[in-house]
């Protein structure tokens, strides 16, 4: 009798294991590629970024995220970053909305390169802050450019998108979250 249980043991262990696998695979909304950011639902870090000279928009600081009661989209970009160019049209779309703040953090870039890039492609951002040494980027947990954060009107980070916005991401991910946050207000 005992022996039979012993011989059934491998099967039982396997069944439990497969139960786990099945659970993990079918759990709705689980995307293994998304590493949860520790910053989600945490207040945005303190920072104060200087303006990009001759661009015509001011720099910004932590206070500008909460000053006007709007949801903010903070986009990390750089002139050397090719995917940033790919998502640029989406930024232009976002920049046309005046019910949100679109802020750009110019990450590890030379000011003249950044200026050229924005003049050539158009500046969608309402404010642009320079982060040449990635001090602020580190506080935001940036590990690749571009990244896009959505911050609610109280200055809490609500969403983080790593990498460029792919076709569909704006309509399916970013805009619904913004609408949602605006509705909550």
């Amino acid at each position: 009798m005992n022996k039979k249980i012993l011989f059934t043991l491998p099967l039982l262990i396997t069944l439990v294991l497969f139960g786990y696998f099945f659970w993990a695979l079918t759990k709705p909304g689980r995307d293994p590629k998304i590493l949860p950011s520790v910053l989600i639902d945490k207040p945005a870090p303190e920072f104060n970024l200087t303006a990009l000279e001759n661009l015509g928009v001011p720099g910004f600081s932590r206070a500008d995220l909460t000053s006007n009661g709007k949801v903010s989209v903070v986009n990390i970009f750089a002139s050397w970053c090719v995917p940033c160019l790919a998502e640029h049209p989406d930024m232009v779309k976002l920049g046309k909305r005046d019910d949100i703040n679109l802020y750009g953090i110019n990450y590890r870039d030379k000011p003249e390169d950044a200026l050229n890039w924005l003049n050539r492609n158009g500046n969608p951002y309402h404010r642009v802050g320079r982060d040449p040494k990635s001090r602020t980027g580190i506080d935001w947990g940036v590990y690749g450019v571009p990244e896009t954060f959505i911050v609610d009107a109280t200055g809490t980070i609500r969403y983080k998108h790593v990498g460029p916005l792919n076709p569909g991401d704006l309509d399916n991910k970013i805009l619904p979250i913004i609408d949602n946050l605006q509705a909550q207000k």
């Binding site: 022996k3 011989f7 491998p10 396997t14 497969f18 696998f21 993990a24 079918t26 293994p32 590493l35």
Partner: protein
Amino acid sequence: MIAELGQFAIIMALLAAIAQSILPLIGAERLDSRLMAFGGQASLVQLLFVILAFGCLTQAYIVSDFTLVNVAENSHSTKPLLYKISGVWGNHEGSMLLWILILAIFGAAVAAFGRNLPVTLKARVLAVQAMIGVGFLTFLIFTSNPFTRLLMPPENGRDLNPLLQDPGLAFHPPMLYVGYVGFSVAFSFAIAALIEGKVDAAWARWVRPWTLTAWTFLTGGLALGSWWAYYELGWGGWWFWDPVENVAFMPWLMGTALLHSAIVVEKRNSLKVWTILLAILTFSLSLIGTFIVRSGLLTSVHSFAVNPERGVFILFLLAIAIGGSLTLFAFRAPSLKAGGIFSPISREGGLLLNNLLLSTACATVFLGTLYPLFMEALGGGRVSIGPPFYNNTFVPVMVPLLLCVCAGPLLPWKRADLVGVLGRLKYAGLATILAILLAWYVTEGGPLLAILGLGMAAWMLLGTLSEWADKIKLFRAPLSTSWQRMVKLPGSAWGMTLAHGGLAIAVAGMISTTAWKVEDVAVLKPGETISVAGTDYRLDGVRELVGPNYQAVEGTFTVSQNGEFMAILKPEKRLYNVQKMPTTEAAIYSTFVGDYYAVIGDQVEDGGWTVRIYREPMITWIWFGCTLMVLAGFLSLADRRLRVGAPAGKRKQGKRKQKSQQNAAA
């Protein structure tokens, strides 16, 4: 047109596999020799159709046929030919087809080389082999069809992931798959034995060469993958405990155990049930590995495109294969007759200890790999486990195993005298103490654990050598006698000595490079020098390069020690045109005692370049040791004793056997 031919071929292969998985089983039950023989023919037909399908897909890649989704997403017309071909298996669908191709090759090989197999066993093995084929062909056709057409073909493809455009990675997957899939034969033999209700020495003798083949290729595949990670990722280091590395490593650990336990079944007709279970588990781990890489269950740098639907499909396949075989095991294994008895201290006992330690080691890797998933299931959030976990669990299990490696082969069967065996190792022991003192002197009293670790590696090597010297009576008989004994040593004995020696050398490399690795990062302007571990690296200059499908910056370093020139290193940083993905091409100067490794990074604001320099002591020993192990596998395979099932070799004996089998079958 050719793609449709490929599509047709995989469907035909599926039909052949379905017939092959049913008819020979019925034949074996009714002792109908025609139905049983059908298994062999069907396996050949199945192989031909799979080869045809694989050829069609390869052709589509070579001519850059972007009307196929698979080609458009993973290839590009400017890619060098080698990478067009390796691109076939650089993606989910194509690599699945490669998997099936290798499975079919093994099936047909069993049919071709297994002429001396008992006919019922052969029929059942082929049927089980075909069942695996049915599962994966169904999976391919219904969820991962490589021949799907695009309605609006793009002008050019999306290119292969640049990290995979590397000669090392071109050959790594096929080798790994031969290893993974090769264990299917051991699995099929185990299931067939459970159906027959009979496991004997002959069974083990047939299983061993197949397991050995799979093990040899898996060893090679793992070594190649680790070598690729070392020079291509630009992180230095050779093993990262990444989930995908782990899932390939687990079948290796289990396969190593299987290789050793099959010896006990063959020689002593003992440990039969355990060996059957190992054969099932080894292949199950291969399947689970395939599943984890493709389902996106765990996050890893290696993952293919994630598709949960596909994941559920494979999970069901696995549930049927693994659950089914373990159910069969639960019912049938208790009735298998137990074999010879042995005392704990004996060759059998040693091999059993080897098995227990290897299985425990495998279990720790398994837990570590899946722990993040369990944590998540229990609501603990997503975590990841790094090297510290494995250092605290895996390493302590491996240490006793490695210490015993050289003592095992000295133990006689049935009952052994431990004191006597250790006495035969006294010279090896003395030499080990000398080696430890030498290591202590050379490293100027480096970390104690690492020095003891090197001592352990020396003990393994010296003990293995002294066992070999013992066998040929070196220094105890005239040299001519020793020479004759050496020449007459069977391939499997050479294989054992070489494999254990190779392992010792690899372990020495692993320990040294882990303990004494030095790395430094700096920003250098051309003309500046950085000194790492007593070696100077001068950045002579940086220039831009244009490759066939990438652009690159290339740095030139002059490496010197105390003003004496050693080497020129030219690391590159490439940006691939299509995927816009940067890759590092490290430059490495390898010597016997260590590697000098340079990586060039981005340019910083003041015009300097970020460079990383690594000094990796004795790291090449790892791959040298692995090469010896692969060589050992082939040597052992060449042993006549293992070719009982082969058509050539001991012909007379073979004929006699065949006759008696035919009589038995009739």
